[in-house]
């Protein structure tokens, strides 16, 4: 167990280093730099630009810049934003909660409903409900998130006028109800997309389990249908879903990025996109590392939970 943890953490560190190197290289390869926005400012000369560039250390060779950044990171210094000189970590943390609220609420809903839809599809296989769920999942998986979000805004905000089209709070009055009204649409979009995936996996897992011998044994013991389904089938079918949930994390982060942008939700996804627009290298790198860390920790937790939930698994 301890050895497993040490090995996994070691692997994660290597991965983080690789992610940071690739991210850093790609970021600096993208055309335009942090200074390109100043290039068109009236009265800006090439000499001044070079001077600023030198002051920011951007004229040094890329490996040197990387080592400089990584060295600071190791000492706990995530750098400062080019835009407003705020510490990167502060900026990320201030946007973190908005994303976690969106991801948390939509994941919770998606897991509850996705499990339900998947189980229903498995135990009533080839029924009308199963076909509808299959078609629904196909639609949910194939329509682009941003388009779906725009349609939702069109229907519920523009056409019906029921819900706000973006942001987290209406300016002026920031009540909890108001917050919920803002949360509904982005949460709905993210939930429906996640339900689609989750219910498919759940259906397959459940189908696999209900054809197992021990389900027949449970019925032969005289257990009622519901007891067999919940205590024997569902419990076993949920085991692989722990791993799936871990693997879904990056997708969820990506989905949140698009959804946050469409609904101008002030989370990490939107911060990421804005920062890329400004070529705000420290913030982009900080977000990249933060997301990678989140995914690695999520997967580690999933593996640990699996070993607790399934007595056959021994971590080594």
């Amino acid at each position: 167990m301890i050895r497993f943890l040490i090995r996994r953490i070691g692997q994660s560190l290597v991965l983080l280093v690789l992610v940071s190197m690739i991210g850093f290289a790609l970021l600096h390869l993208t055309p335009g730099g942090p200074l390109s926005q100043f290039a068109l400012t009236p009265g800006m000369s090439a000499a001044t630009l070079a001077q600023i560039s030198h002051a920011m250390g951007l004229d040094r060779p890329l490996p040197i810049q990387y080592l400089d950044w990584a060295g600071h990171l190791l000492r706990g210094d995530w750098g400062r934003s080019y835009r407003d000189q705020q510490p990167v970590l502060d900026i990320i943390v201030s946007h973190l909660w908005a994303t976690l609220e969106l991801m948390g609420s939509s994941s919770l809903l998606a897991i509850i409903f996705g499990t339900w839809v998947g189980v229903l599809g498995a135990i009533r296989r080839y029924s009308i409900a199963d076909y509808l769920a299959t078609i629904g999942a196909m639609i949910g998986l194939s329509i682009p998130t941003f388009w779906f979000g725009l349609v939702m805004i069109y229907i519920f905000s523009v056409w019906l006028g029921w819900l706000p089209s973006g942001d987290m709070y209406a300016s002026g009055h920031a009540s909890f109800i108001d917050y919920l009204r803002h949360l509904i649409l982005p949460c709905l979009v993210l939930t429906l997309v996640t339900i689609a995936t989750w219910s498919r996996y759940m259906r397959a897992s459940m189908l696999d389990v209900i054809s197992q011998d021990y389900i027949r044994t449970a019925r032969a013991k005289g257990l009622r249908r519901r007891a067999v389904l919940v205590r024997h089938a569902l419990r076993n079918a949920l085991l692989p879903m722990i791993t799936i949930a871990g693997l879904q994390l990056p997708t969820l982060l990506g989905g949140a990025l698009v959804t946050e942008t469409v609904f101008t939700w002030p989370g990490m996804g939107r911060l990421f996109l804005d920062s890329i627009g400004y070529r705000d290298y420290p913030v982009v790198m900080g977000l990249l590392m933060f997301s990678a860390l989140l995914v690695l920790i999520g997967n580690l937790i999933a593996d640990l939970l699996y070993s607790i939930a399934d007595p056959r698994i021994r971590l080594s």
């Binding site: 019925r219 013991k221 005289g222 257990l223 056959r312």
Partner: protein, 334 residues
């Protein structure tokens, strides 16, 4: 002795993408009190499907249709028609009046539940027992089926037990509520030979103790000789011979039964005949295209175009307790 379980004209039809399969056709038999009835046959002869149909453990319509009558006589004399009971009522029969054990004890136990809990669960379903009392009973049941240190084993997960121990735990589970009928579907097939004998001995001892009746499904005639009072031989979904064990093994009337007995490997035969094993030529017919007439005639040395290919023979009484499905049994016996 009176009948505990009466099966009349049991038929099971599966409808799938591959077409219609009549897995079981017109199976009738009666199980007496304290009797051990062995159902013997090759793979896909319909013996396991028969057992699952009795327990109503097959999938439901439209893919699987079960017809016929299965009558259970309960302890208090009440007669129940199992195939027409509502599912919830049938669930209260399973495990309490009829227990069942299966071939593969590894996959037949829930891998993520402790063995003791799996036994207690059945007790809990049928008897108003506190959780504590049920788990205490589970431990004593484990001890009763010969598991050493039962309190420790009750807390183990199935993968932590050996194959023989798992099957003992399955038996403890099936017999937890003292059913009047135990259906054992190839309970020793997946076990080592030495363990096989122990499990057979255990079932026999428990049967003597509780007075239950046993339906023992197997393809192993050695096991049949050891445990059975009466034998039902099945071929291609039908009963082809039904006789007391001594009669069947000593003087089988149906050529298929004779063939099965002849193909049991025996050490002295192997030496005498230079290692050649007797076998029934050919294979069990595809259930979607069974031959017209007697289903066994393409593999039968005694087959004649008339009567064997003309019509499917009926199950005839050759003696009061001996039935055979063969058009030529009189000539063959003569």
């Amino acid at each position: 002795m009176s009948d505990v379980l009466t099966v009349t004209d049991l038929a099971v039809r599966f409808t799938g993408e591959g077409g219609i399969v009549d897995a079981v056709e017109g199976v009738s038999f009666a199980l007496k009190e304290r009797e051990t009835l062995a159902i013997v046959g090759e793979s896909s002869s319909g013996k396991s499907v028969t057992a699952l149909a009795l327990m109503r453990l097959l999938g439901g319509p439209p893919n699987c249709v079960v017809r016929g009558q299965v009558t259970l006589r309960r302890q208090d004399g009440e007669r129940l028609e199992l195939l027409s009971l509502p599912e919830a009522r049938m669930a209260s029969i399973r495990g309490r009046d009829i227990g069942m054990i299966f071939q593969e004890p590894m996959t037949s136990l829930n891998p993520v539940q402790r063995v003791g809990a799996q036994i207690a669960e059945g007790l809990h379903a049928h008897e108003r027992l506190s959780a504590r009392a049920a788990s205490d009973r589970a431990v004593s049941l484990l001890g009763h089926v010969g598991i050493p240190e039962p309190a420790l084993r009750a807390r183990a997960y199935p993968h932590q037990l050996s194959g023989g121990m798992r099957q003992r735990a399955m038996i403890a589970m099936a017999l937890a509520c003292r059913p009047r009928v135990l259906i054992a579907d190839e309970p020793t097939t997946a076990l080592d030979v030495t363990i096989q004998a122990q499990i057979l001995e255990l079932i026999r001892a428990l049967q003597k103790e509780t007075g239950m009746s046993v339906i023992f499904i197997t393809h192993n005639l050695g096991v049949v000789a050891e445990v059975a009072d009466r034998v039902l031989v099945m071929y291609a979904g039908q009963v082809v011979e039904d006789a007391p064990v001594a009669t069947l093994l000593g003087r089988p009337l149906m050529p298929y039964s004779a063939g099965l007995i002849a193909s049991v490997p025996r050490l002295d035969d192997v030496r005498r005949r230079g290692g050649r094993l007797a076998a029934i030529p050919g294979n069990v017919p595809d259930p979607r295209a069974r031959p017209a007439g007697c289903t066994f005639h393409p593999r039968c040395a005694h087959a004649r175009p008339d009567p064997c290919e003309a019509a499917r023979p009926a199950l005839e009484a050759a003696a009061p307790d001996h039935a055979v499905r063969c058009a030529r049994w009189r000539e063959i016996a003569a």
